[in-house]
């Protein structure tokens, strides 16, 4: 301990005596450790930390599966079947998302809401912070209307310390608040209101898949056993001809992390590589510094220091560096996590991401490991030097032994190789991102404003009233100056909502349970024109397509291709199995649009006129002649003009939605590009450092060469050539590593192969240029050597 304190004291003082070296080393390490800490805090939250629910290892998502559809939400009858028949689950709960307009007190407000089964919260764990949860009888139609509200809504809308028993009006209906949920519920988005199901099988038939079902496994977290059990239950249900569908279960934690897992693992690998490069750089600095400390080390040996003691002392200095770097890195990570959280709005469990004890322990561990990693080789090298030579009067003090120079070269080659791997990864993600944006989305998102409207059923229970509201609103909005066109749609493209229903095609038969699925959309007549969706054949809707006229439908190209590849779909009749009833005649085919994401394929879709099948929840889309956001006030005024109690929610532009839909891809691309740029910079610094030392060592040789007639260009060529050799070796090694490694990226790529030759060549070229530039500066200095001075110097 005594020695440790002494070593720490001397180490700290030695580092303070070389502020330049210390600052560069600490900053390099801080960047490496900071990036690792920030990404680890996300990895820890999403992949390692259990969900904040009761015994989360036994919670699973239970979904429907059918031929051609791997996994779909459950229908209400399915949920009831599973609940009744299953021995696999200790409990089952379900929910679906919806919205409710809160009226009657203050400004009307559209609230995100969950319709839940009474047993959901008891199964998951969180219980109300105030009041009680739902009782099973409250799930039945006709039961008293009760609601649980979120902590946030309570704080925002209710001034009273207790809201229990308070009547509130949701969607025009009176409800009683029976409880307040605690903050930080980790599923179903961030709902403000929870209402019991109150479903009956007539309104929610077997073909309508809309429910998220969660289950708690009786057997424990053994998924193989649980999967076998649900498969046998599905087989029983099929044998009894209840259904022809299957059941698929996924651990809830895995489901919540979803698509982010591969991107996170890639980023975690990337920051690991950045840290390795940072270590190589600091090791290089230490090796260069060890040359100037040869004499000190020799004296220490001469006065009795053993080699192990010297190594310990040098390692202590490295650890001081890495711990200070780690501390600074932690501050950077703090800032980085804030930045990540604000940039990664679509990350799951984002509100839980923070720097906690686990992350601190990780940082401390990484800092210690880093200190050993970059400090060990220089310490071994320094302590094994020929110290007798260093003590001789006039002995060489600044030279680097050939072994040390070789080690430094090896480190630089590794840095170039690692940087190349990262740059190639970043290059592939950038190219994918560009491909996604270039991908034809099938509509024009520019200058389009979208606002959600959910009409309360208490005032708009009848379809005619719903149709009349939207009809009048569209007429008013269309008259506004600056509006090029307005329309309504039930599911906005890229809006995050989609439903599909079973599709009947006249003259074709499928078993009832195996109907093909198609996305369903209710739209107003001008919808295709307002969004710029092109008509392929036939016609779109007109204001004459009303309830009393022929019921019509427009299909998209995907549906036409899949079901009418050999015939003309125009004039054929279809029937969607949910909202609509009876046959609709196909009058037109429109182009496919990207509904679920720019990088996801278009699914078959059916559009029907909202006037023939009105609904209470629609999104108003308005194409502006200028700035669409400038219209928000005027459009809102028109909504209130039609009904002053009608709230407007989720105002956004289509361009924002496009940006949001590529958000996760943009985030991982930006992060990987940032890390790759950092790696490139560190590698350039590394090459510069090695070449500078080499030039300083070769001053005499260069002087002699110049005295013998070498021109400045010859000297530059000599030095740059040496750097180029290292760079080429690094490129070779990097390419050999990158070729197999980039395959791990495949899942994140879009429209570009993991071994894309253009990216590999382009990135190698970029790295070569940067490396040669880093060599050029010391080369230019070498070429300015005064030959006579250099010779005399020696």
């Amino acid at each position: 301990m005594d020695h440790l304190i002494q070593d720490l004291r001397y180490g700290t003082r030695t580092l303070l005596k070389s502020p330049g070296f210390t600052a560069v080393a600490v900053l390099t390490l801080a960047l490496g450790i900071g990036a690792n800490t920030a990404i680890f805090s996300v990895v820890d939250t999403l992949l390692l930390r259990p969900l904040p629910l009761k015994d989360p290892g036994r919670l699973v998502l239970v979904r429907d599966t059918q031929p051609g559809v791997d996994s779909a939400p459950a229908s209400y009858p399915e949920y009831l079947d599973w609940k009744e028949r299953s021995k696999t689950f200790e409990a089952l709960g379900a929910f679906f998302t919806t919205t409710f307009s809160l009226t009657g007190k203050g400004e009307p407000e559209e609230l995100p809401a969950l319709r839940i089964s009474a047993g959901l919260f008891p199964m998951l764990g969180p219980s109300p912070a105030q009041g009680r949860g739902f009782r099973p009888e409250e799930e039945k139609p006709g039961a008293e209307r009760v609601a649980l509200i979120s902590h946030a809504l309570w704080q925002r809308r209710f001034n009273s310390p207790s809201v229990l028993g308070t009547p509130i009006t949701l969607a025009g209906e009176p409800y009683t608040v029976v409880g307040v949920m605690p903050p930080g519920i980790a599923f179903g988005g961030h709902p403000d209101v929870y209402i019991p199901f109150r479903l009956d099988e007539k309104r929610a038939p077997r073909g309508l898949h809309f429910m998220t079902v969660l289950g708690r496994l009786r057997s424990g977290p053994d998924m193989t056993r649980a999967r076998a059990e649900v498969e046998s239950m599905a087989a029983r249900l099929r044998a009894e001809a209840v259904t022809r569908h299957g059941i698929v279960i996924t651990p809830l934690q895995e489901q919540m992390v979803g698509d982010t897992r591969p991107a996170l693992l890639v980023l975690f690998g990337a920051v690991g590589l950045v840290l390795l490069i940072a270590c190589a750089n600091v090791a290089n600095l230490l090796l260069a510094r060890a040359a100037s400390r040869q004499k000190e080390i020799a004296i220490r040996r001469a006065v009795g220091a053993s080699r192990s003691r010297l190594i310990r002392q040098l390692l202590t200095e490295s650890l001081v560096l890495s711990l200070v770097g780690g501390g600074l890195g932690l501050l950077l990570a703090w800032w980085g996590v804030d930045l990540l959280v604000s940039a990664g709005a679509r990350l799951p469990r984002i509100e839980e991401i923070r720097i906690d004890g686990t992350v601190l322990a990780f940082t401390a561990g990484v800092a210690l490991l880093t200190g050993l990693l970059f400090g060990l080789a220089p310490a071994l090298q320094a302590s094994s030097a020929d110290f007798h030579e260093s003590l001789k009067e006039g002995g060489r003090q600044t030279g680097l032994g050939s072994g040390r120079q070789r080690l430094r070269s090896l480190l630089v080659v590794s840095e170039v190789a690692l940087s190349l791997v990262l740059l190639i990864g970043a290059g592939l993600l950038i190219r994918s991102f560009v491909r996604v944006l270039d991908n034809d989305m099938g509509f024009d998102p520019s200058r389009v404003l979208a606002l959600d409207l959910s009409l309360p059923l208490s005032s708009y229970g009848e379809p005619e009233k719903q149709a009349a509201f939207f009809k009048e609103l569209l007429a008013r909005v269309n008259r506004l100056p600056g509006v090029k066109g307005a329309a309504v749609v039930s599911h906005l493209p890229l809006g995050g909502n989609n439903t599909n229903s079973g599709l009947l095609i006249e003259g074709r038969t499928w078993p009832r349970d195996e109907l093909p699925l198609a996305d369903d959309r209710l739209v107003s007549a001008d919808y295709f024109r307002v969004l710029g969706i092109h008509l392929v054949r036939g016609r779109t809707f007109t204001p004459r397509d009303v309830e009393s006229s022929l019921h019509v439908a427009v299909i998209n190209e995907s549906l036409a291709r899949r079901f009418f590849s050999h015939t003309d779909p125009i004039g054929k009749r279809i029937d969607m199995q949910w909202k609509t009833s009876g046959w609709q005649e196909i009058v037109g085919v429109v182009g496919d649009i990207k509904h679920d994401g720019l990088d996801l394929p278009s699914e078959p879709a059916v559009y029907v006129p909202y006037l023939q099948t009105p609904d209470s929840g629609m999104t108003l889309v308005v194409r502006a002649t200028g700035d669409s956001l400038g219209l928000v006030g005027a459009v809102r005024a028109q909504v209130y003009g039609v009904d002053r109690n009608q709230p407007v929610s989720r105002v956004r532009t289509m361009e924002e939605l496009v940006a949001e839909s590529v958000g996760p891809r943009r985030l991982s691309m930006s992060l990987l590009s940032g890390f790759a740029s950092l790696a490139l910079f560190l590698a350039a610094v590394g090459i510069y450092g090695v070449m500078s030392t080499s030039v300083a060592q070769r001053t005499h040789e260069i002087g002699v060469r110049m005295a013998l007639g070498a021109r400045r260009a010859d000297v530059i060529r000599l030095v740059v050539g040496q750097g180029a050799k290292l760079t080429l070796a690094g490129l070779g090694l990097g390419l050999a590593v990158a070729l197999p490694l980039t395959r791990l990226l495949s899942v994140l790529l879009f429209g570009v192969s993991a071994t894309d030759p253009l990216t590999f060549c382009g990135v190698s070229f970029l790295l070569t240029v940067v490396a040669l530039l880093a060599c050029y500066l010391p080369a230019r200095r070498a070429s300015r050597v005064d030959p006579m001075a250099a010779i005399r110097c020696e």
Binding site: D2, H3, Q6, Y10, R13, T14, K17, K295, E296, A298, I299, R300, R301, A302, V303, G304, A305, S306, R307, R309, F387, H388, L391, K392, E393
Partner: protein, 231 residues
């Protein structure tokens, strides 16, 4: 105390072996004050480094206090050096980043002496060499003589039976040099064996034996009086 038999030191070079020391045979007894002299490049410092076990690349036999150094590994040699040898160099070789106090403390710390014992030994040394007032100064704040005084104090602090001094007065004014040599003489009279390398006949006169090296070969030994006469 020391016996060298046929000790040789050479470097391999492209043209073959270049010898620095050739078949060196030497006996040093306890309480000897031996001076090694010779022209530059004769192998004096190399011989001193071998005697101090700082250089391990030699052949022949070397016995130190009855232990066969030639048969010891690097670690065992370092242990012998740590316990029994104190070094004094021409350019003092104090550590610039450490204070006088810390420079003196260094060999004790490497000998794993306890903190409290270290403090009392360092204080004794500061007192003995009259440098108490300088204990918090850095080497760069001292004169050459003061630095060499600290270097000698550092060499002696572990109380070694053998002091090896390489041109100990080479960088000092004559009066400072004399002071250091007087100190060595006193130490020798107190029982410490001293081996010094020097070009100065006057410094050699403080000892009781002189060996001369020429191109790596030991010349017939002389006594200081004869040397002084020859000089």
């Amino acid at each position: 105390m020391i016996q060298l038999r046929n000790v040789e030191r050479f470097f391999e070079s492209g043209a073959g072996r270049t010898y620095v020391l050739r078949r060196v045979n030497l006996d040093v007894r306890e309480r000897d004050f031996l001076t090694i002299m010779g022209p530059s490049g004769a192998g004096k410092s190399t011989l001193l480094a071998i005697l101090g076990m700082l250089d391990g690349s030699w052949s022949g036999e070397f016995e130190f206090l009855g232990r066969p150094v030639h048969a010891l590994n690097r670690k065992e040699r370092a242990e012998l050096n740590k316990k029994h040898v104190g070094f004094v160099f021409q350019s003092y070789h104090l550590l610039d980043n450490l204070t006088v106090y810390e420079n003196l403390e260094l060999p004790l710390s490497y000998k794993n002496v306890k903190g409290s014992d270290r403090a009392s030994l360092v204080c004794d040394a500061l007192d003995r060499f009259g440098i108490v007032g300088k204990k918090d100064l850095y080497p760069s704040q001292l004169s050459g003589g003061q630095q060499q005084l600290v270097a000698v104090a550092r060499a002696l602090i572990i109380n070694p039976p053998l002091i090896l001094a390489d041109e100990p007065t080479g960088n000092l004014h004559s009066s400072q040099g004399q002071e250091i040599m007087e100190l060595f003489k006193k130490l020798n009279e107190g029982g410490t064996t001293i081996i010094q390398v020097t070009h100065s006949e006057a410094n050699a006169a403080y000892g009781n034996r002189i060996i001369r090296l020429l191109d790596g070969w030991i010349q017939p030994e002389t006594r200081p009086q004869e040397a002084a006469r020859k000089g």
